[in-house]
Symmetry: C2
Subunit: 239 residues, 2 copies
DNA sequence: AACTATTTTTTGGTCTGACAAAAACAACAA
DNA sequence: TTGTTGTTTTTGTCAGACCAAAAAATAGTT
């Protein structure tokens, strides 16, 4: 399968052909998730291009999340999920967060999203999700003395909210949000007293959802996240 | 500035150092938006690495949206915005959309988001935004006979909704959504009658927002987008 | 036979040098 | 100033080489 029969200097890159060919193989299930990519020397033969081009192609695949490549190791095929899509934005988001107002923008987006989530949860969450929410709430309560554990159960509680719509996009978004905001979050001062307050807010949210009161749920969440923001706000030097 | 003094075979890639250095220069404003990147040979000298590494680094920069590189042209510095972040996910999203249920998942996310947008708009939109909305609505009305123009004004109307929170993340999301869903959208059959229905829905949404009725606004939007989905649904062969 | 230590082979990361074609630049003519 | 033509850079691609790390094969041990 020689893909290299194209004019030399056009607006194509030779690597593009290789990328497309490999993409097709992955999509077709010829190369299965978890498999290792063939060695560079193999690909050279298969596609009839130089190693330069092969490496470039593999790098492109990696940047698209179709393969995972650690230095010195054979790249591994990854059939990407919604989280991979968000992860692709990772590099840029880093720069955006560093910009003035970047964190606030992202955090506001999160608040907005979760406000919608709790509202919809109050309207149409299934019993299983409400149970899961209650379970997460209990875990959160038990972790009040241990700030580190509390953070984890905090995240887990919110994660349940993102699962309620049963749309795989949402959990991916949650993952991305926590990953992006975590670095700014860990600097926040923590204490059991503070944890107790946050737990109370979680409890309010849960109650409102269970009682099918969307407005109360949204209000509780808004209160929760706004006050949390005021807390982290101090850790920035930005406006 | 020689960055190459590292052990050869470690878990680093030499290109990473170059990437970081260039990132820093861009962030520092040393390399300004719109400028061309120095030539590869220059970078070789500057960083004391081989051309292989330089090219790899530039490719990485490009995949992160920090430079824009067309084949055969000097890469151009791009101080990335929120839209660049979403654009980075582009490659993966293509694959996700091809998957069964992919379009529905993304569309549902959009509906969810816009439901929240119109709700908040009804609650707190400023007069200027309501005016902008009305203007977009008028344009939409005038375009009823011309289906292609109608599509544009349709997008523009929704775009206003994304501007209301005055958070730059939202317009970027809108841009991404329309870019991703457009290919599936254009296949939808169009007609002035259909356009008129859609305009009426837009009008309902606008009225509800102007009258500060979040529930009505959300309901109108939900009705609008749900019926639109039923329309495009037929153009898929997926479940 | 199963496990470990050691040697051999393969492979990825980097470098050097080369060449064609396209782009950027400079000199010149209209 | 604008348009044409020739010269110099520069990018895309190739080929071959080297090193060190990983993977595979082998030998040795219990």
């Amino acid at each position: 399968m020689d893909v290299s029969n194209q004019l030399k200097g056009s607006d194509y890159r030779a690597a593009d052909s290789v990328v497309r060919a490999l993409e097709a193989r992955i999509a077709a299930g010829d190369l299965v998730d978890g498999d290792a990519l063939p060695s560079e020397r193999d690909l050279i033969e298969t596609f009839g291009v130089s190693r330069t081009v092969v490496r470039e192609a593999v790098a492109a695949l990696a940047s698209r999340g179709l393969v995972e490549s650690r230095p010195r190791f054979r790249p591994v095929i990854r059939r990407p999920g919604y989280d991979a899509a968000l992860a692709a934005a990772d590099g840029v988001v880093g720069h955006l967060l560093a910009r003035s107002g970047g964190v606030k923008n992202l955090y506001d987006t999160r608040v907005f999203l979760e406000a919608g989530l709790v509202r919809q949860a109050a309207l149409s969450a299934r019993k299983e999700h409400i149970d899961a929410l209650e379970l997460a709430l209990r875990a959160n309560e038990n972790a009040i003395p241990d700030s580190e554990e509390f953070y984890k159960t905090d995240v887990a509680f919110h994660a349940v909210l993102y699962e309620i719509p049963r749309n795989p996009v949402f959990p991916a978004i949650h993952k991305a949000f926590t990953a992006w905001l975590a670095p700014h979050w860990v600097k926040m001062p923590r204490s059991p007293e503070r944890n107790r307050v946050n737990f109370q807010r979680h409890s309010d949210i849960f109650t409102a959802i269970r009682d099918r009161d969307p407005d109360a749920a949204e209000a509780a969440l808004q209160a929760h996240l706004s006050s949390a923001w005021e807390y982290v706000r101090g850790t920035f030097n930005e406006v």
